[in-house]
Amino acid sequence: MFVPCGESAPDLAGFTLLMPAVSVGNVGQLAMDLIISTLNMSKIGYFYTDCLVPMVGNNPYATTEGNSTELSINAEVYSLPSRKLVALQLRSIFIKYKSKPFCEKLLSWVKSSGCARVIVLSSSHSYQRNDLQLRSFYLFIFETESCPVTQAGVQWHGLSSLQPPPPGFKRFSCLSLLSSWDYSTPFRYLLTPSMQKSVQNKIKSLNWEEMEKSRCIPEIDDSEFCIRIPGGGITKTLYDESCSKEIQMAVLLKFVSEGDNIPDALGLVEYLNEWLQILKPLSDDPTVSASRWKIPSSWRLLFGSGLPPALF
C-alpha cells in the first residue's frame, strides 16, 4: 500500500508512472536509479508491502553530507511534478509466491491514484531470443570464384544453432551486396490496447520494434504463439493484468545478459528518452550520451570491496 511521507497523499492525477520490473541484469532498476538521480526527483512516499524482501540503507542518491543520512527502504515513490512524472523504485526481489499479489496491489494503487499511464522498464534474456529477434539472416559471406570470403563487420550468431532459415533466404549465397550492414536492435516495446489508441502514432514515428510473439512452449513446434518475456520477472504479469483492467501501460525492454549492466541501463534510458524527451535530444556524438545521466553515489563498489594490498 502507498504510505505518503508527508501528512496527505499527493495528487497524482494525470501523471506518468515509471517503474522497473525486477528482471535479468536488474536493468530496469538501474535505469530507474539513473532517472531519479538525474532528474533529482524527491521522495513522496513508500510502497509498503509484505511481498518484497526487506532491506534498508542510507539515501542511495546522496549528493552531500547533509542528505546522505536519510533512510531508504525497498520500495519508494519519487515525483517530479513539473514534468508530471512519478517513479516507483523497487530494490529487492519478491518473496516466493508473492509476485502476483504484488502486481494486483500495485495496479489497484495505479487506478486509485489517477495516474494516466504506466511505463515499465524491463529486460529479457538475450540468449533466449529466437531467430526472428536475432535477425541473423543477413549473412555476409560472398562467394568469389574460388573461395568464400567473409566481409569485415560480420555478426556471427552461431550458425549451427540456427533453425532452418526462413523461406526466401539461403545460407552462403547472399550475393547481393548490402550497402549498410544491418544489426538487430536489442530494444523492444509493448503497448496495452488502451495505450495503443493514444500513442501508436508517436511510436510509429520513432521506428521502434514491437516485441514479437514466440512459441508459448519453445520445444513444441505446433504450440501457439504468444508474448513471452523470459527473465522479465513480473513484466508479463503486469502487462496481462493491465490489458484486462484497461490500464494504459507501455513496456520498454532490452535483451541483455548478466554482467556489467550499466551500459544496458544507459541504453534503456536513452531509448525511453527518445519517446518522453526527459533530457534534451541526443546529438550525434555518442560520448556525450553517457555523461548526461547522473550516476548515483550508491553505485560505488558495485563489484565488491577493495582488494587486500598483500594480493599484489
Binding site: P54, G57, G231, G233, T237, S297, S298
Partner: protein, 283 residues
C-alpha cells in the same frame, strides 16, 4: 548461461531472482494435494506469540498487550548475550511471552511441542525487550512484525535494534582485511532525533532480514528507531564482539537501564564459558 572453467555451459542463477516462469507454471499445474501440502507448510511456518505461564496464544499484538516507551530488540547470539548480561541483569525483568516459529533452518522438526528451552524469541517486560536468537525467514518477517507491533503503529515509542553482521558484508574501498573489526555502525529512521554513538552506515551498504524489516516498518510509520550493527569476523558467541556493543550503554536509549557494569562483565564471562564447553566436539 555461463561457461565454467571446464567448458561446460551451466545455467547461472539470475541476479534478479526471476525464477517465476517456473513458479507460474507450478501454480497452473498445482493439484489439490499440492495446495494442501503448501497450506500445511504455511501453517507450520506460522509465527505464534505465546504467553509465558499459560502457553496460550496472545490474541492481540504484543505491544498492544504490553505497551512500553522503549523497545529493545536483540537479533543474533552476540547481540542477545550483550543484552542479557548488560541490560537485563539490572532491575527486575519479567518474561511475558515468546514467539515460536519454525522454518527450514531450525534443527527440530516437531513444532507443536517445543519446550521452553527452545523458545526462540523471548519477550521481557520492564520496558519491554525481546531477544531473538533464531533465524526468521523472509516470509515470516512480516508475520513477526504484525504479531509484535500490530496494525496500529505507536509513535510515542522508541525502538533500538542490536544485531551483528559478518565483516565481509561491509563494502568499502579499502580491503575488508584491514578493517578494525569488530566495529559499530548505525542506521536511524527520520523521526529518531537523538545522535548515534557511532558513525552512520555509509553508502552503498545495506541491511537485510529481520532488522531491516523492523527498521522499514518504523521508517514508514514514522516511529523513532535506531539499528546498531556490529560488523565482526566471528559470528559465534565471542567476548570481543559482545563488548563492541558497549558504547551503546551511554546513549539515551539504554541509559538508566544499566546499573552494574562489572557484574555484567562477570555474567558475560560465565555465558562464554558455558558455551565453550558445549561447543567442544570431543566431549
Amino acid at each position: 548461461m555461463a561457461a565454467t572453467f571446464f567448458g561446460e555451459v551451466v545455467k547461472a542463477p539470475c541476479r534478479a531472482g526471476t525464477e517465476d516462469e517456473e513458479e507460474e507454471e507450478e501454480g497452473r499445474r498445482e493439484t489439490p494435494e499440492d495446495r494442501e501440502v503448501r497450506l500445511q507448510l504455511a501453517r507450520k511456518r506460522e509465527v505464534r506469540l505465546l504467553r509465558r505461564q499459560t502457553k496460550t496464544s496472545l490474541e492481540v499484538s504484543l505491544l498492544e498487550k504490553y505497551p512500553c516507551s522503549k523497545f529493545i530488540i536483540a537479533i543474533g547470539n552476540n547481540a542477545v548475550a550483550f543484552l542479557s548480561s548488560f541490560v537485563m541483569n539490572s532491575g527486575v525483568w519479567e518474561e511475558v511471552g515468546c514467539a515460536k516459529l519454525w522454518n527450514e533452518w531450525c534443527r527440530t522438526t516437531d513444532t507443536t511441542h517445543l519446550s521452553s528451552t527452545e523458545a526462540f524469541c523471548v519477550f521481557y517486560h520492564l520496558k519491554s525487550n525481546p531477544s531473538c536468537s533464531c533465524y526468521v525467514a523472509e516470509d515470516q518477517q512480516y508475520q513477526w512484525l504484525e504479531k509484535v507491533f500490530g496494525s496500529c503503529p505507536r509513535k510515542n515509542m522508541q525502538i533500538t535494534i542490536l544485531t551483528c553482521r559478518h565483516v565481509t558484508d561491509y563494502k568499502t574501498s579499502e580491503s575488508t582485511g584491514s578493517l578494525p573489526s569488530p566495529f559499530l555502525r548505525a542506521l536511524k529512521t527520520q523521526n529518531f532525533k537523538d545522535s548515534a554513538c557511532c558513525p552512520l552506515l555509509e553508502q552503498p551498504n545495506i541491511v537485510h532480514d529481520l532488522p531491516a524489516a523492523v527498521l522499514s516498518y518504523c521508517q514508514v510509520w514514522k516511529i523513532p528507531a535506531i539499528l546498531y550493527l556490529c560488523y565482526t569476523d566471528v559470528m559465534k558467541l565471542d567476548l570481543i564482539t559482545v563488548e563492541a556493543f558497549k558504547p551503546i550503554l551511554s546513549t539515551r536509549s539504554l541509559k538508566g537501564l544499566v546499573k552494574n557494569i562489572p557484574q555484567s562483565t562477570e555474567i558475560l564471562k560465565k555465558l562464554m564459558t558455558t558455551n565453550e564447553i558445549q561447543s567442544n566436539i570431543y566431549t
